[in-house]
Amino acid sequence: MYGKGLRPLSIATVAMLALSLSLVFFYAPLDADQGFIQKIFYLHVPLAIVALVGFVVGGVFAIAHLRTNNRKWDAYSYVSIHMSVIFGVAVLVTGSIWAKASWGHWWVWDEPTLVSFLIVFLMYATYYPFRYAIEDPERQARYASVFAITAGAFVPLNFMAVRMAQSLVHPRTFGTANGGLPGEMMLVFICCLATMALLWVTLVKFELTAKSASGQVKRLRRAIDAPAPGAASRIAPEVS
């Protein structure tokens, strides 16, 4: 039942990916200062924004889970965080490549956005061992929701603290008085942001569909008394 609309959504995502990438490579002007390498910005920044929003969205689903006590929301929260962690790996890798090209080092410590993102990423990486350590599935779901809410509140606070601790050397692309993006770049950027958000939604929907399908298979097997092949995952919540 989660599979409904998955096909058009996937097609739209692929089309948007193709459109955005061709815009990035053929339409967006070359950056006068950084040249070709600056184009990774169209990948890196949207990925980071989507991952962070995804973490917070996971926290909102967790609130819904605690309020309604419906396990569905726990699955939503888990998948959102799971997908954002995967996006987070991509953010750290692309950020590293950009840092190497632009500042000459793979990792730059006096770089608040990079460091904050790493801390947030480490925080959410502990979500898996945390879930895994709790055996009772209902308690696991509740504790995971509490974790997701706490970590969701932690994200903005952490960004504030790290930013205050360091000098401002990260390119402030938006909202600076005389800076800002030229119109063409802004257009491509917004297109990329929409694409990444769409990609995130599609992947989340995909995983929920897969979980729901495997849950159904398991229930059907139980109904005909056939043993399930292989052990079920102990941390991924089941979807009905």
Partner: protein, 226 residues
């Protein structure tokens, strides 16, 4: 309200009395921090510390010593059936959160009462920064108690209790440590305490305390349901 206050006082008094009788957390925390200072003395090969190095050594040591106490915070509740008793009692369950956090703040203050003078004795030349440092310590303890109580209550019901607290707590307190070391660094600077951005860091500490105090208070109910 009065019943909540009475329950809060009862749980807090119970915790402090059992700690006083068994002494299972505090001496270990104090001993751990003194040993860690000695290790830092050789690890860094310094006999005097000041500025950022002093702040880093002090806060890293206090944080790890606090983790020892946080690990044990709910062990008695789980092993001796304290959770069941709280569930049976006709009181607001969030009271357990505030009482445990208050107990943890008292443990941390007791730890610092021992560890900070020893730190000063070992490493510091100028003791002028210690009085304003007390304010930083108090604010950081409140935040550490809020997050520590929350994580500890979850970890104690898991298979990997001793593993989960450091694993989950450390990234969670990074902003707290940034603010605490930021405020401490000028206080312990060579040639007298400075107050560079002192107020800003205190505000960050206060904000952290407020946010995680409220989050802990709001979600703690769900951790006791069974």
């Amino acid at each position: 309200m009065t019943s909540s206050r009475a329950a809060f006082a009862a749980i807090l008094a119970k915790d402090l009395r059992s700690e006083l009788r068994t002494l299972q957390s505090l001496p270990a925390m104090a001993l751990f921090s003194v040993t860690t200072f000695v290790i830092f003395r050789f690890g860094l090969d310094r006999t005097q510390l000041s500025g950022s190095l002093a702040a880093g050594v002090l806060w890293a040591t206090l944080l790890f010593a606090a983790v020892l106490g946080i690990n044990r915070l709910f062990v008695a509740e789980r092993e001796e059936g304290g959770f069941d008793a709280i569930r049976l009692a006709p009181i607001d369950r969030s009271v357990l959160f505030s009482a445990k956090a208050a107990a943890l703040v008292i443990y941390l203050l007791a730890l610092e009462l021992v560890a900070v003078p020893i730190f000063a004795l070992f490493f510091l030349q100028d003791l002028g920064g210690l009085a304003p440092l007390a304010l930083v310590l108090l604010l950081a303890d409140l935040g550490l108690a809020a997050t520590g109580t929350l994580i500890s209550s979850m970890a104690v019901n898991s298979r990997a209790r001793d593993l989960l607290v450091p694993l989950v707590l450390l990234p969670l307190v990074v902003p707290l440590m940034i603010a605490a070391t930021g405020a401490t660094e000028p206080l312990l600077a060579l040639g007298g305490p400075g107050y560079h951005r002192f107020g800003t860091w205190l505000m960050v500490l206060g904000l952290y305390d407020l946010i995680f105090g409220l989050v802990g208070y709001a979600v703690f109910d769900f951790l006791l349901e069974d």
